[in-house]
Symmetry: C2
Subunit: 259 residues, 2 copies
DNA sequence: ACCTGAACACCGTTCAAGT
DNA sequence: ACCTGAACACCGTTCAAGT
């Protein structure tokens, strides 16, 4: 239409670049959701035509891959510097295993996991795009990145080489699966009722579970209450500990595998 | 164009129905891939107009959800009847823990997992659609189904009620994550070179890993050989055992928790 | 109640043309 | 080398009209 639109960006002075395009794509995904990333929206935001974008990027899939990769790389880089954030409400009734040094491989794995967890919280489109990229090129840029970060700690844990692949896979798969589920919850809570907070959403979801036929879904029925009360990060951490314990029990020679 | 196309289906005699539409959608996804499911392709296959489909189905998302749900439900139903298939090549060097009854909860969990594993192998689009459905409605039809199947066995395992949610979540997340990764591999092997078999694909992928900079990716570099030799199902099973062991060690009161 | 099919708005992508 | 923007093919969805 011919409406004189307030020009969002003043005429572009700096040159276009792949980096700037990817950056704009991430912003669009964050603010407008997965459906909001459009070449038309992108051209408007960058004040160009579609052809300019295609000069720097082969197609939309490549752009999405680049956006995913950028966000994951940033998350993994950040978590290497910061110490792992403690769970919001410290629970003194559950003492963690005491015999771990502050920067044990276990702690670093938790840090990596929470790094991804947080990134997914900031960018709810991440899990879906990860799945899509996986189906396009399974050993593309992102998988190796995550695998490498986790794998190093598996190694540091003392797992013998023959079990590296198994142990790292188990961890990566759990982390991505759990973080994805969580992102879905958050996104859904936002979408269904923008004003509503997480607690109310979990309440509603729990109620929905309780309304399932108890004959067909006895377990879900029984566990609905737990799912209402659960704290995301606590739950996420508990799952990581399950996998870590399994790895330790199955793959570590003695009680303490560090050389 | 006006080419007189050989009409695939003779004039439809039976009435349209939601079931028939979902069935056709699954077939299209299987044969033509995720991009192949189109309302136009669907109308041609069903010999109708788009309006007819919209009478039975609200929109494409709902159709995809229904297709996903149908396939998952079938997989979970099938695995409840059949005994778990043994790994193709039995490995007598690795004795499984002997003290498990033939239909132990552990075995049933493995059966469920392999049921989903096989379903994903037949329908490579499943993981992506599961992720998409998750992001649309996290507690939609599919998640409760899988959660229920796995959860019952967690219960049978003797896990105390307070840990049900954690234990079931860990299993479900691992299963979906690992099966998804695998589906991606298969799909990619098919796409990149239709005539090539899995071994050759893994070979190529492994080589790609070995070509990554060893300074940036020391772990990946070291583990590339393992990934070439790995057997999917064996690997998948090993991961499940890691999670099961972790659950047993962390959440089971004694050594054997069954009452 | 169930189906038809033309029409609409929108999308990814291309390409001849400019600088 | 880098960018412009009109044009193309295709898609999900709608809706007045039929039976």
């Amino acid at each position: 239409m011919a409406t004189a639109r307030t020009r969002r960006s003043p005429r572009r002075t700096d040159a276009l670049s792949r980096e700037r395009i990817v950056e704009a794509a991430v912003e669009l995904l964050d603010t407008a959701g997965e459906g909001g990333l459009t070449f038309r929206a992108l051209t408007e935001r960058l004040a160009t035509g579609p052809g300019a974008i295609y000069w720097h990027v082969a197609n939309k899939d490549e752009l999405l891959d680049a956006a995913t990769d950028a966000v994951v790389a940033a998350a993994l880089a950040a978590e290497c510097l910061e110490p792992p954030k403690p769970t919001k409400r410290a629970d003194p009734t559950k003492p963690t295993k005491p015999a771990e040094s502050p920067d044990s491989p276990q702690d670093k794995i938790r840090a990596i996991a929470f790094g991804l967890f947080d990134a997914i919280e900031d960018h709810p489109w991440l899990p879906t795009q990860l799945a899509l990229q996986l189906s396009r090129s399974p050993w593309g840029s992102v998988t190796p990145r995550i695998f490498e970060s986790v794998g190093r700690q598996v190694r540091a844990l003392g797992v013998p080489e023959g079990h590296w692949f198994t142990a790292a896979s188990a961890l990566v798969h759990y982390i991505l699966g759990a973080a994805g589920q969580n992102a879905a919850n958050n996104a859904s809570a936002r979408t269904l009722a923008p004003g509503v907070d997480r607690a109310q959403f979990l309440d509603a979801a729990s109620k929905a579970w309780q309304e399932l036929d108890p004959d067909d879904y006895p377990f879900i029925h029984a566990v609905a209450a737990q799912m209402r009360e659960h704290d995301d990060r606590e739950q996420f951490l508990a799952g990581i500990d399950v996998v870590l314990t399994g790895i330790t029990a199955l793959h570590l020679p003695g009680e303490r595998g560090r050389t």
